[in-house]
Symmetry: C2
Subunit: 207 residues, 2 copies
């Protein structure tokens, strides 16, 4: 199979990004080594700098990919005419599922939070996440209209909860697993936690 020059170039770029995702997820920006990324992708370090100006720029690109990764999954999950309670339950379960399958994503976001979320322009981040926010807010409002959600529920707090409880579980899993002497990231435990969290939120909404 003959590839054109620019196709090969794109392939190289992807190989670099793949290796970069691994390295940055594992060690963060400070810990990641440009040489390690070059070697892992089987290319020369010079080419890495030809494709991505600097370590910083490469890191930003990796992060953007990670955000787009989950944003795509979130979009799939948004169903216009689903019942509010089911929709929120579904969203929470989807998030647990996604994070179980994508441990690298968890780590990249944790590093980024420690970097105080400076590596990605705020407006790009908002653009990616705003639809999800709006989706959950609307479901809550609809629920109130239908009478399945209490009027006094603070939608701001629910949005925060729906979007962070799953992540919190995984990001603390190592410490907590050590403490509980149990592998909390097993499929079984994750499923149970997912069920608990969505149930808890729903009970609060309906209470």
């Amino acid at each position: 199979m003959k590839l054109r020059q620019y196709e090969k170039s794109e392939l190289t770029k992807e190989r670099i990004l793949e290796a970069a995702v691994d390295e940055f997820a594992e060690k963060g920006f400070y810990g990641a080594r440009v040489d390690a990324i070059a070697e892992a992708s089987g290319i020369n370090k010079r080419m890495l700098y030809a494709h991505f100006e600097s370590k910083e720029k490469l890191y930003a690109k990796v992060l953007l990919i990670a955000y787009e990764w989950i944003a795509a999954r979130e979009r799939e999950c948004m169903v216009e005419d689903e019942d509010p309670i089911d929709a929120i339950k579904g969203f929470v379960n989807m998030t647990f599922d996604f994070l179980l399958e994508n441990p690298k994503f968890i780590r990249l976001l944790m590093w980024e939070n420690l970097n105080r979320a400076v590596s990605i322009p705020k407006d790009e981040l908002v653009k990616l996440k705003e639809p999800t926010f709006e989706y959950i807010r609307q479901k809550i409002r609809l629920g109130k209209k239908l009478g399945t959600v209490r009027e006094s529920v603070d939608e701001h707090q629910i949005v925060l909860s729906v979007m962070s409880f799953a992540f919190a579980y995984f990001s603390n899993a190592h410490t907590m697993s050590a403490l509980m002497d149990r592998n909390l990231t097993s499929r079984e435990d994750v499923l149970r936690r997912s069920e608990f969290i969505s149930d808890m939120i729903v009970k609060y909404l309906e209470a």
Copy 2:
């Protein structure tokens, strides 16, 4: 004021640890620079290595301090004969309060989770945290006995929730603040979140 040799030595050690807490909290293990710690504590780098064998050992010590820090606060919070519901509410609120006042602690723990919790021996960690675990478990059991907590409540899940929701809020605050265009770490917002979380857990227990 004349100090004895070993007193001065202890003071130097403390100055190093103080600077190390700052540096490691800010930049994590990889990002932290031994030279920076030495300079910040106003001592010679050689003395740092005299007191703490290596960068790794120093980091482990810093982490242990951080854990002892909150463990002390947790012990204060444990009241033997308090009502189970009040006790759990109180514990959650205390945790929010502690984390609001100790942002360095949050960062140190986040780094450590990214290190997959390898820097501290598991048994030391368990020794520090087990009392808290047991306290919450007992309160739930007591609640069930008194009839204020539902029988079907999974105590394992509640322990996990009580111990991680506050932390989750703070550790994602930067990303979430950017998304919500609002400073979530203001005293006001933290208080509201604390109230919401404890209320949510309690509602679930009683439901």
